[in-house]
């Protein structure tokens, strides 16, 4: 893929293994002809904000479900649990109509806000919270600490592995999502990278060199991200898969 991106189309068709010289026109072409930079920016912005949002919202909800004893806690837990049974595909049409009514189609928030609610994440983190022994919290309570203090100063550091795991998982799945951005974004400028490239390739299907150049551009940040967060990523997927 990387090698092909530096070849001319003629070299690809004649099946040369290595390009005769470093051919950069594929890259020039994709930067000029497609909105690849814009899509890249959209994807980054959307993934970062959704991840930040989902972590904060999940944190509060999980603390409420996992650590606070109040009437209705059990009910809310099962209510949340039911949510993991709803696949996006089953509700994509009514959700699209809802966003239309809220005037959020073709906007960043239209993608981001729905990404910020994830019942599975809440279950994972609240299970993690439940496993933390009471002693940690009681000492602080005796000293008169409030809930916010306990949540951020005591619980967050202890639950760090599960929080890192859901952030990484959320970032990667948002970055790579295809169906939801395809539905919400109809304006070319608002596409995310996967949707933008897919549409772009669809209309220039014979330009394989350009396709590979686009793929290199799109894969590079994920590759770097992967190299840095490998361990957390693998751990995150395991936690997400095993602790239902």
């Amino acid at each position: 893929m990387v090698i092909s991106s530096f070849k001319t189309d003629l070299e690809i068709i004649t099946q040369k293994i290595f390009p005769s010289k470093l051919y950069l026109n594929n890259y020039k072409y994709i930067f000029k002809q497609s909105g690849v930079l814009r899509w890249f920016f959209n994807s980054t912005l959307i993934s970062l904000i959704s991840t930040f949002g989902v972590v904060i919202i999940t944190l509060f909800a999980s603390y409420s479900l996992g650590r606070l004893n109040f009437p209705g806690n059990k009910f809310l837990f099962y209510f949340t649990l039911a949510g993991i049974m709803i696949p996006l595909q089953a509700i994509m049409i009514p959700r699209y109509l809802l966003l239309r009514d809220l005037n959020l189609l073709n906007s960043y928030w239209g993608l981001i806000i729905p990404y910020m609610v994830n019942p599975m994440f809440v279950l994972i983190v609240s299970q993690f919270f439940k496993g933390i022994p009471n002693e940690f919290e009681e000492a602080a309570r005796i000293d008169g600490a409030g809930e916010l203090y306990i949540l951020f100063r005591i619980m967050v550091p202890l639950a760090k592995p599960s929080l890192v795991a859901i952030s990484v998982f959320s970032f990667v799945s948002t970055w790579n999502d295809f169906l939801w951005p395809l539905i919400v974004m109809t304006d070319q400028k608002m596409y995310t990278l996967p949707v933008g490239l897919a549409t772009f390739y669809g209309s220039y299907s014979m330009k394989y060199g350009v396709t590979m150049a686009g793929n290199v551009i799109a894969a590079l940040p994920i590759f770097i991200f992967f190299m840095i967060f490998q361990e957390q990523l693998i751990q995150g997927l395991t936690v997400g898969g095993l602790k239902e």
């Binding site: 209705g72 049974m85 994509m92 609610v117 996967p194 793929n215 490998q230 693998i234 997927l237």
Partner: protein
């Protein structure tokens, strides 16, 4: 005590509000919509169960449902079996274990567009590497994505390459929970590594098998993007899958009620698989997670 109750509700509210707005409300709205005919532009008309009778009499619906199941049949067994075998290999003491783990896992985090367009390139009839490999072993076949018989298996192969790493990781996690002393005991009793794998590892990982099987079935049932990018449903609709049909009916032809009726049917299938999942994960306890 009372203060804790208050913060309990307060902390749940942001999530609860968005959850109701973006998951619960659309689901209820979806049930309602499926009894209406609606093209987005005029007023919706109540038509009772007509969408459902139409669905059961629509050959394209059954065809796309079959294509979806066909895809599940093509991918799930491979993904589960190879996922397990590769995990067992990686778990034994081999050189470059970490490197292999990364190599198998990396494709999974690549975006669907990158994976699919690269494979389309490799399947390309004239200069694609896959056709080339087959040429060198004497098979002159090039219609990977254009021939109805091989198009779906070709998409399935891409998907297997793409997502296998995830199952490997799940199995590796399961394997690491098995105590080494069991294998040591078996070695003393004279078991070879083949016997150890099939008589110790396979049964001990019952819970992981169930989990991988169900998660994989769920994600294979949701197939859409690969088909959308690689063949667009062609040749001749032979790879068109259910989600794609729902997407087309809803967002191309604006038959909102009809598309939603099919989406509900899909929801019921997923719900049944989900129930099976709960049964399996709860029923085969004994292993700790």
């Amino acid at each position: 005590m009372k203060k804790r109750t208050l913060s309990g509700y307060l902390f749940y509210i942001p999530f609860g509000f968005l959850y109701i707005l973006f998951l619960v409300y659309p689901l209820i709205q979806g049930f309602r919509m499926s009894f209406y005919e609606w093209d987005l532009f005029s007023e919706p008309t109540f038509i009772g169960l007509a969408n459902f009778t139409k669905m059961f009499n629509d050959p394209t619906f059954w065809e796309t449902l079959w294509h979806t199941l066909y895809f599940v049949i093509l991918t799930v067994p491979f993904l589960v079996i190879f996922g397990f075998l590769i995990a067992v290999l990686l778990n034994s003491k081999i050189y470059f274990q970490k490197l292999f783990r990364v190599l198998f896992f990396f494709p999974y985090i690549l975006s669907i567009t990158i994976v699919c367009s690269t494979w389309v390139f490799m399947y390309q009839p004239k200069f694609g590497i896959i056709s080339k490999i087959f040429q060198t072993i004497g098979i002159n076949y090039s219609g990977w994505l254009t021939n109805p018989t091989t198009a779906m298996p070709a998409i399935a192969l891409t998907t297997i390459w793409w997502t296998l790493g995830f199952n490997v990781i799940l199995y590796l996690a399961g394997l690491q929970e098995i105590s080494p002393s069991i294998y040591e005991a078996a070695t003393i009793d004279g078991a070879n590594s083949f016997q150890k794998t099939f008589f110790i590892t396979v049964p001990l990982l019952k819970r992981t098998h169930a989990l991988v099987l169900v998660l994989q079935t769920i994600s294979s049932l949701q197939i859409f993007g690969q088909v959308y990018i690689m063949t667009g449903g062609g040749p001749n609709g032979k790879t068109r899958v259910l989600i794609q049909y729902i997407y087309d009916q809803g967002f191309r032809y604006f038959r909102m009620g009809y598309a939603q009726a099919m989406a509900l049917f899909f929801f019921v299938i997923m719900f049944i698989v989900g129930i099976v999942q709960f049964r399996l994960t709860l029923g085969t306890g004994g292993e700790k997670s």
